[in-house]
Symmetry: C2
């Protein structure tokens, strides 16, 4: 059999995404973010919204779909302009899929520190701790210590995080 | 023996960087760039400067050193402000280390298309083709078709690329 020359003219569009590749890509492009938005209908006037996102230019939307398929959760949506994101917001997917994955396959960048805080917050929410004043205050305190990828945006939002 | 609970409080600072992790991280954060700078001392009035870079905030400078150690080439330097980069510029390292690595371990994002053009240009330079008018013109044509990560900066520089 004559060995075939690998096709290096175009990116690898179809192969499996290995765990290590996913960790490397998320170390670069992922974001573990906890939004705290004003919402008068909730108990403490604010809603806590954890989300995991990976944003890409639309030319790599296929890669976002592959990530979603590999992890079997989340949605691919337009983020803004020509940017799309793979986004996981629901607590069940975060606590059953995303968090265990990055606990088993550790991030190598400082994003790993944010991930740990993110995981603790999500677990507190699953345990309904955010519905007590003490739990809610503790989560807000943790969110303020997170460096997120969307620093500017978050700095603005942070002004509204209750002390 | 009692199994130890893995330390998930801090990022993985010391483990080996696997090939797949490096590919994933470069799919996110790497840049294959070919600069064409005016230089009256060169044959055609321009110097062709291929470089491979990974830029990170200074908090992850350790990761850049680990990449440099894993690939055994390049330098870690301040890029601008609080950003640092691992940068490989010398043709020997590009053609003997970086290019063979990404030919064996294929990028999954559209960055792979740029990588192929980058690899062709570097190989032409090693073969001294850029010293002929035909080769120089062909390289300039290829550079104009590259989407790079530093789009704005490159758009400005492109105005000076000879037709």
């Amino acid at each position: 059999m004559i060995p075939q020359r690998p096709d290096v003219e175009s990116p690898d569009k179809t192969g499996t995404l290995s765990h290590d590749w996913i960790v490397g890509f998320v170390d670069g492009e992922g974001c573990f973010h906890v939004g705290i938005n004003k919402n008068d209908e909730t108990q403490f006037g604010h809603q806590i919204l954890p989300e995991f996102t990976v944003v890409q230019h639309e030319r790599d939307i296929n890669l976002l779909h592959r990530l979603r398929s590999a992890m079997r959760c989340g949605v691919v949506r337009r983020n803004h302009g020509d940017r799309f994101c793979w986004r996981v917001r629901d607590l069940k997917s975060l606590v059953q899929v995303i968090i265990p994955f990055f606990e088993r396959h550790r991030l190598k960048s400082k994003k790993g520190v944010d991930f740990c805080k993110f995981a603790k917050i999500v677990k507190k929410m699953v345990a309904k701790e955010h519905l007590t004043e003490e739990g809610f205050t503790e989560i807000c305190r943790m969110v303020r210590t997170m460096n997120t990828c969307k620093r500017k945006e978050v700095r603005l939002k942070r002004e509204s995080i209750p002390e």
